[in-house]
Amino acid sequence: MMSFLAAYHPLIDLLLLNCGCAFGQYIVLRAGAFSIANAGLTSIGAYTAAILATRYGIGLGGTLLCSTAVGLVVAILLSLPLARLRGVYQAIATLAFVQIVLTLALYAEGLTGGALGLNAIPKLVGTPTLLICVLAVFYLMAALDRTRLGQAFDAIRQDEIVAATLGVQIASTQVVAFALSGAISGLFGGLIALHTYSIDPNQFGFPMLVSLLAMVVLGGRRSIYGPIVGATILTLLPEIARPLSDNRTLVHGIMLILIIVFLPRGVVDSLRGLSFRKPRRLQQGVASDVPSA
């Protein structure tokens, strides 16, 4: 067991980081907001942590607290104008946000190190810390699932007008979703920075945005197990099937198309749908009740 852990140590760390980032993307999609700002929020968290840890020598707890707080505040500020937009317009605006963050990170060389990024960040984070953070986020999501807020998220995603009719405050509910997403993204951005010694802007660009989206779409946007399953499949698949690892993006791309065409609700939600389906006889009975035009 120990030797297994030692051999696959980096892979497990990567998996945990991906799970956390996927949760950040999951929570906004679940609340019916079409935001893909998480790559930008994660990079803000990562830069906050890296600057605090290298230049000011602040310890693990303080650094992570700050990057979580910065992610939270930026996400709330971002959500206020985004509440005016819907659908693809929200997606484009958040894509613009990611680009603004990245190009500013490239421009402000004094603060962020420009294209070279920040190096020699102290490694303060190991597998136990990552595991604790992922479990904490998972607990938060599981708790949320049982509250009215979780139900409000689902209602908005399924039909915004119905949700509003049922008394759900659309704007404020989505601000909460953005805030949670920003906090989670900021936290895991900080963890990425304190785990990998160096960060640079390109690591948080379009590819990260796409892979986060892929994880959540693959796993499912409803169930709290969705992001974990999605992150696990997309992280482990290239490792399990070695010949595939050269074609990682090709496999991701093909899987994205196949999943959205054949399992549009994602792996977990589709499986749950199967197990909760009514008995066949009952369905037939209902169908035969309908008068034949």
Binding site: Y89, I92, T249
Partner: protein, 296 residues
């Protein structure tokens, strides 16, 4: 100096316009945000490059690129979008699906080209420069402007002067009503994807010639700049795409000339963010109802 910058900006802007026209044709008719359009442009550029390397004249290369990209675009519709059209949740699903297509295209191109930056041969396009009203211009720039203007005029004639165009506009307005009135909606869909691909292929060759490099990621920066054009002009508006493309080219040229190095991209994306918040329908768009509309 300023006039020369603006001229250079107009030429770059013409390429943005051509890109945005193809993109907006699909958005206007299908309401699909086709993120694979950058990938189609890249494939078009490679098709043109290989045609030139095979010893064909440059105009054949343009034709080959346009045809290859057009057919690819139709294929993408069949594989990635057609199965989704049956279902309700088109907006999110089509975006995700198009991202998948883009990943497949770029990876295949990366393996095919061995991650190299490839160039058109030196004599592929005869470049000579001349002076016009005190401004230096190359035949390359003149060709870009000519192709973009010609294509725009042809597109307008097609959409507003022919029966096919009327069918396309009818299907864009309401596909069910169009079908009831006897429009072959499937044929309209194939046509729009094919034409959009043609435009993408031409964009690819012009881009490859103008900047003299063809590589597997060339669609990505274009796609991101393309979004600025789309929002500036209004999603789905062809007139908006054309004007906004030139406008962005000029804005970018002036920013590059007068702002500190590296600040022009943040300014451009900041502009996108501000416009989408203040005037999401863009300069010419009539899309307010779509912006405010609730997802189905």
């Amino acid at each position: 100096m300023l006039a020369q910058q603006i001229l250079n900006g107009i030429v770059v802007g013409a390429v943005y316009s051509l890109f945005a026209l193809g993109f907006n044709l699909i958005f206007g008719v299908h309401r699909i945000l086709n993120l694979a359009h950058g990938g189609v442009v890249m494939v078009g550029a490679f098709a043109g490059l290989y045609a030139v390397l095979a010893g064909l004249p440059i105009w054949v290369a343009f034709l080959a690129a346009a045809l290859a990209a057009g057919l690819l675009s139709v294929l993408i519709d069949f594989v990635a979008f057609r199965p989704l059209r049956q279902r309700g949740e088109m907006e999110f699903a089509a975006l995700v699906s198009s991202i998948g297509v883009d990943m497949v295209l770029t990876t295949l191109a990366q393996r095919w080209s061995g991650t190299q930056v490839m160039r058109f041969p030196f004599d592929a396009f005869p470049i000579s420069s001349f002076t016009l009203f005190g401004l230096r211009m190359t035949t390359m720039q003149l060709t870009i402007l000519g192709v973009v203007l010609a294509v725009s005029v042809l597109l307008v004639i097609y959409l507003y002067g022919t029966s096919f165009g009327r069918q396309v506009r009818a299907a864009a307005e309401n596909d069910r009503a169009a079908r009831l009135l006897g429009v072959n909606v499937t044929a309209v869909y194939v046509q729009t994807f094919f034409i959009s691909g043609l435009l993408a292929g031409l964009t690819g060759v012009l881009l490859g010639l103008a900047f003299n490099n063809v590589y597997f990621l060339m669609g990505e920066p274009l796609l991101l700049k393309g979004f600025v054009v789309l929002i500036l002009g209004g999603l789905g508006s062809l007139k908006g795409a054309l004007v906004a493309g030139f406008l962005l080219g000029i804005i970018q040229a002036i920013c590059t000339a007068y702002l500190p190095n590296g600040l022009s991209d943040p300014v451009v994306y900041g502009l996108l963010f501000v416009i989408i918040l203040l005037r999401p329908s863009g300069l010419f768009g009539d899309t307010v109802r779509n912006v405010r509309a609730v997802r189905q």
